[in-house]
Amino acid sequence: MFKALLFVASLMLCSLYISCDHSPKFSEWEEETFYVRNGGSDMPAFVRGNTASKTFVVYLEGGPGFGSLSVEGHPFANDLEKDYAMIYWDQRHTGNAHGHFNKEAININTLVQDLDALVKTIKLRYGDDSSIFLMGASWGGRLALSYLVTGQLQEDIQGWISVAGVNTDNDYKDRNEWVLNLAAEEINKGKQLEAWQEIVSYFSALDTINNLSPEERAVRQNYISQILHELIIDYIHPGTLLSRETSNAHDFRVNGWNFNNCPLSARDSLQQIYYGPEDLSIIKSPTLLIYGKYDFVVPGIQGQAIYDHLSSDSKYFKLYEHSGHGPMYTEAELFVSDVTSFIDLHK
C-alpha cells in the first residue's frame, strides 16, 4: 500500500513538473506566466495571445487593486490577443501579487521601478526586438505617466495608451466642470430641461476648491449615480456607465477569489500625484488617449489637458461618444480598431 501511495504521489509530482514549462514560447496563441520580483514583492505577469507577433501590450489595471485578470475574457481583450500578446500584470499588493513589505513601499517610485523591471524582463525573455506598449486604465494611466516622465525609461517602449487615465490636482473641480459642460449642451438641445437645470444648480453651488465632507460626497454621488444616470442612460452603449463592468468571463482556475487589494491609505496617497505641463512635456513617446464622454470618474477634460502638453509628434485624443469610465467595454469594436491602428503604426 505504501508503494501504491508513493506511486500516485510521484505521478502527480511529475505531472505538476511537466505542466510548469518555463521557457518562453512564440506562437499565435500562448498562455504563460512569469513573475517579476522586486522590493519584497512577487508580481505575476499573465501572458495571453499572439507572442509570435513579438508585440506586447502591458495592461496596467485601475484602482489600484482589482487585479489585472479582471479584464481578461472581455471582447476587447480577446480581439487584441489575436494580433498581440497581452500581458496582464498585477502590481504590488494587487490581484495575485504576493510577498512581504511595509506600506511605505507602496509609493510611486517603487511602482515605477516595478514597471521598469517588467519592461526589462519582457526584453530579456522575449528578445530586444520586442515591441512594448503600455495600456493604462484609470489609475493605470497615471502609473504609465509616472513611468514616462522618469529619466529615460520611455525609450524602452514603443508607445502608450491611456484609457480614462487620471491626471489632475483637483478631481472634483474637473468632474463638476465636465458635468456642467454636458448640462449646457443638453439644455441647448432643449431636452429634459427641468432635470438638467437641477443638475446645473446643484453642481454650480458645489465648493470645488475645498475637499468635500463625507456627507457632501454622498449627496454628490447620489446626483451622479441616480439623477445623472437616468438622464444619460440612453446615450451609453450597454456595459459600463459610471464604473467598470464586472467580468462575466472570470477565470477562477487562475484568479480564484481575490482579497488582495491595495490598502486604502496607500491608494489615497497615490491618488495625490499630479503631473503639470512641464512634466508632461518630457513625454515624446507616441500616445493614444481614449476617454468616455459620460465618464464622471475621470472626465475627458483630464485627457485633453495631457494631450495639450505632450511633446510627442504622434499623439491622438479620442472622446468616445457612447462611453463612461470603461470605453474599452462599451465601444469595444471602435476601441480595438483605434488601438490596433495605433500599435501597427508604431510597433
Binding site: V8, A9, N38, H100, Q113, R125, R253, V254
Partner: protein, 218 residues
C-alpha cells in the same frame, strides 16, 4: 477565457484524474474487512483543494495521544473518542499562477456519533510555501535581472478545521474536512483568510509484524 474551459489544461486535468484514481484504488484495495488484529499505521490521503477549485493532494498520518469511552460493536480495539496529532504534507495548484506546499501539524479531538459516523475538530500550525509559476525575474541592486526557477516565499499558516467522517470497516474510513486558515504577513496585511476543502480516506496500513495490534480504527 470562459469559466472552467480546460482545452489548454491537459496537465491540470491529468493531475485531477491521477489523484481521483489513486483514491479509488486505495479504497478498493481496502474494501474487504478483516477481523485479524494486526499492527497498522494510519495513512490519510485526500483530495485537497483551495477554494474548492484549485486541485491538490494531502498525505498525512495520525498519532493517538489519548482515547476514552466504551468500545462498541465487536471491535475490541475501538474506542469512540480520542485526541490525536496529525502531521501532514499537502500541495495544490493554481493553474498558470502558482502552487503551494503546506507542512502542517494538527491537534484534533474526535467524537463518535452513531452508526460509525464521527466529528472532529482541530487546531493546526503550518508552513505554506508559495511557489511562483514559471520563471521569476528578480531585479538586482545593480539593475540587472536574475532569472530563477521555482522561486518561492514562505508564510506561517495557523488553521482551524472541522471534519465529518464515517467508518467503512476496521481498516478504512472516509471523511470530508473544511479548513479555515490565515496566511500571515501577506504583503502589508497581517492575515489573509484562506479556505481549503478536502475529501479523503484514512486507511490502516498493515505493517510486517502480526499478533498484537496498536491500531485504533476510526
Amino acid at each position: 477565457m470562459p469559466f472552467l474551459m480546460f482545452h489548454h489544461t491537459s496537465h491540470f486535468k491529468s493531475l485531477a484524474y491521477i489523484g481521483l484514481f489513486g483514491l479509488l484504488f486505495s479504497i478498493k484495495s481496502l474494501a474487504q474487512d478483516s477481523s485479524q488484529p494486526v499492527k497498522t499505521i494510519p495513512i490519510v490521503v485526500s483530495y485537497f483543494s483551495h477554494e474548492y477549485i484549485h486541485p491538490g493532494l494531502k498525505l498525512g498520518t495520525e498519532h493517538v495521544i489519548h482515547q476514552w469511552g466504551k468500545a462498541k460493536n465487536s471491535n475490541r480495539h475501538y474506542k469512540p473518542n480520542r485526541i490525536s496529532l496529525h502531521p501532514q504534507l499537502a500541495f495544490n495548484v493554481h493553474y498558470e499562477n502558482h502552487s503551494v506546499w503546506i507542512a502542517n501539524l494538527e491537534l484534533s479531538v474526535q467524537h463518535q456519533l452513531f452508526l460509525g459516523w464521527h466529528l472532529a475538530y482541530s487546531l493546526g500550525i503550518g508552513n505554506l510555501r508559495h511557489l511562483n509559476w514559471g520563471t521569476t525575474y528578480e531585479l538586482q541592486d545593480d539593475g540587472s535581472l536574475e532569472a530563477k526557477r521555482w522561486a518561492s516565499r514562505s508564510y506561517f499558516l495557523p488553521n482551524v478545521n472541522a471534519e465529518i467522517g464515517k467508518r467503512i470497516n476496521s481498516k478504512c474510513s472516509a471523511f470530508s474536512k473544511i479548513t479555515a486558515a490565515a496566511r500571515t504577513n501577506y504583503n502589508t496585511i497581517p492575515i489573509l483568510p484562506q479556505v481549503y476543502w478536502e475529501i479523503g480516506i484514512k486507511i490502516h496500513v498493515p505493517t510486517k509484524s502480526k499478533g498484537s495490534s496498536t491500531s485504533k480504527p476510526a
